[in-house]
């Protein structure tokens, strides 16, 4: 249980990190600290607080939070290694560790190379994957997952729900990639009005920035349709199952908030706080959709464990790794 709580803490801190990263981009502070891994020649941990002024406040704070999250993920990977009996969950820890190290290096490179769009977009996109990995670890170490949500009867193996849920999660991630491209190519106000585009349903003129901006709007529409389809399916066919209904309700709430924030981002001329909240809410939509999708596929993990001779449901009160040979 302590491992699960710790994994939740890591996931929450990763969300905070994504918000801090959004603030860096939204305030144009990405290059306010020109060196990396140092900060104006100081070690990042000894940089004087009284020198955190202007854009440095955002960039240096982002680096400090990133270092903290990196350390937390190192501890998580070690903890999983020592206490987690399921090999695939331990692997998730290793992958998260590798991803967060790669993420840190990408962050450094993007500063040293003056924010090249492909690197900055990769940095933003990998952040979401790191978040998804921490969410997946937090979910799979939870008591509910371990007992296979068995209070409401056997977990349904609803193929349609699994497929539409997976599609929704993938589409949300693609939408976030398009959003990251829009942010880092400075196309956030390429279409300055909302809900119309230059007073029309379809932009009357096109250039690459308008195209990527419009693609993000169309993407929002597609994601909304898939989300409504997924959640409607859950509420209609699986109403008694709280493990599915709760994330579905949260997903709809977050999606509504996210669309509102997207509109406000345009209407407020990209106010940095609204813009950053839009980034972290997008990450939350992705995480919630991922949780819902993984829960719809809970039985697949039993089969996965069974095929490898492992016991997926185990004594959750003994949150320790079984002796070798037990698995």
């Amino acid at each position: 249980m302590r491992l699960h709580l710790y994994a939740v803490l890591v996931a929450l801190s990763t969300a905070v990190l994504i918000f801090a990263g959004g603030l860096v981009t939204s305030t144009g502070s990405g290059l306010s600290v020109p060196d990396w891994p140092t900060t104006y020649g100081w070690s990042m941990f000894t940089f004087p607080l009284d020198k955190m002024v202007g854009g440095i406040r955002f960039e240096h704070t982002h680096r400090l939070i990133a270092s903290t999250v990196g350390f937390l993920i190192v501890v998580l990977a070690v903890w999983l290694r020592l206490a987690e009996p399921r090999r695939w969950v331990r692997r998730l820890g290793y992958i998260a560790l590798g991803a967060v190290i790669t993420q840190g290096i990408l962050g450094g490179i993007t500063v040293l190379w003056f924010l090249p769009d492909p690197i900055s977009i990769a940095h933003a996109s990998l952040a979401q994957l790191v978040f998804c990995l921490t969410i997946a670890i937090a979910l799979t170490t939870s008591a509910g997952w371990k007992r296979a949500y068995s209070e409401g009867g056997p977990v349904p193996d609803d193929r349609i729900l699994q497929q539409i849920g997976t599609a929704t999660t993938v589409l949300v991630y693609v939408q976030i990639l398009v959003g990251a491209t829009m942010r880092h190519t400075d196309a956030g106000l390429a279409i300055p009005d909302f809900p119309l585009a230059f007073g029309h349903l379809i932009p009357p003129a096109w250039d690459p920035k308008i195209a990527v901006h419009f693609a993000h709007r169309v993407g929002a529409l597609v994601v909304t349709c898939f989300t409504i389809a997924t959640t409607a399916h859950v509420f209609y066919h699986h109403r008694p199952r709280r493990e599915l209904c709760r994330p579905s309700a949260l997903l709809l709430t977050l999606l509504t908030l996210q669309i509102t924030l997207g509109a406000l981002t345009v209407l407020s001329q990209k106010h940095y706080m609204i813009n950053s909240l839009h980034v972290v809410t997008g990450a939350s939509v992705l995480a919630t959709s991922l949780v819902l999708t993984l829960r719809t596929r809970r039985r697949s993990f039993d089969r996965l464990a069974g095929s490898r001779g492992q016991d997926e449901t185990y004594d959750m009160h003994r949150d320790v790794r079984p002796a070798r040979g037990h698995a």
Binding site: Y40, G41, V53, I56, I101
Partner: protein
């Protein structure tokens, strides 16, 4: 466990080595300017004088919110400088010979041009320099600045200056009009430099006036650049020992 912990320990050691302390600044050494004989014949050289006018009412200067850095806020109120108009003339316009000098080569001064960060603004805001001439960037403020040049043809650079009195010397190698500078710490700080292969440029000052001297006789394309209003060009022919009057009018 060893196979897992060893790489982790190695990574932590690598990180601690990378995070060295202390502030330092390594100024790049300017390349020595090639010595070229001055092709200008002072007995025949002429000049160009004139002024930059502005038609229309420019937007009123806005007070800049500098609360993000207490030091900058203490320096007093600062206003936006996109349109500096005095006596009907527009200041901070870069005027230069765009074309007409042919294959003439000019000596490159070794005296550096100074770009000062003072009172959390750049001084000067608009200036010119010859390719190969050293540019000395000075921090006169008791706060941090980063000096970030965003050229298209020259090499981009971004240097931090954490302490008052720090200098960084840079040499632009290629002619380019204009190269923007910005400070990412203080997002209101902007400056522009025109990098040229010759010394025939000026920046309009009080009353929008400018003066370019020692210009060899010939027919030239003269361009005037303003940070918000773009560029205008005119053709002008300078005779021996002739000083021509030239006026540009920007419209809002």
């Amino acid at each position: 466990m060893n196979t897992f912990l060893r790489p982790c320990v190695a990574l932590l050691l690598l990180g601690s080595i990378a995070c060295g302390g202390g502030s330092s600044e390594n100024a790049s050494t300017p390349a020595p300017a090639a010595s070229v004989a001055d092709p200008v014949n002072l007995e025949t050289a002429g000049g160009l004088k004139g002024s930059i006018k502005l038609e229309g009412t420019p937007p009123a200067a806005q007070t800049i919110n500098r609360r993000s850095d207490p030091y900058c806020e203490q320096q007093g109120e600062a206003k936006t400088q996109n349109f500096v108009v005095s006596n009907g003339g527009l200041e901070n316009v870069f005027i230069y010979v765009k074309d007409g000098l042919g294959e003439m080569k000019f000596p490159v001064p070794t005296t550096p041009v100074v770009l000062d960060q003072h009172g959390c603004t750049y001084a000067p805001r608009v200036f010119g320099i010859q390719a190969g001439q050293p540019l000395e960037i000075l921090n006169s403020d008791e706060t941090l600045h980063n000096i970030h040049a965003l050229p298209m043809s020259n090499r981009e650079f971004n240097r931090g200056q954490a302490l008052k009195g720090l200098k960084h010397t840079h040499v632009f190698t290629t002619a380019e009009v204009m190269v923007p500078f910005k400070c990412d710490v203080h997002n209101w700080m902007n400056a522009w430099v025109g990098v040229l292969n010759h010394p025939f440029y000026a920046v309009s000052g009080s009353g929008g006036t400018f003066d370019i001297q020692r210009l060899p006789p010939g027919t030239y394309t003269i361009e005037a650049w303003h940070e918000k209003l773009g560029t205008q060009t005119q053709m002008v022919t300078i005779g021996p020992k002739e000083t021509k009057e030239l006026s540009f009018t920007f419209k809002l």
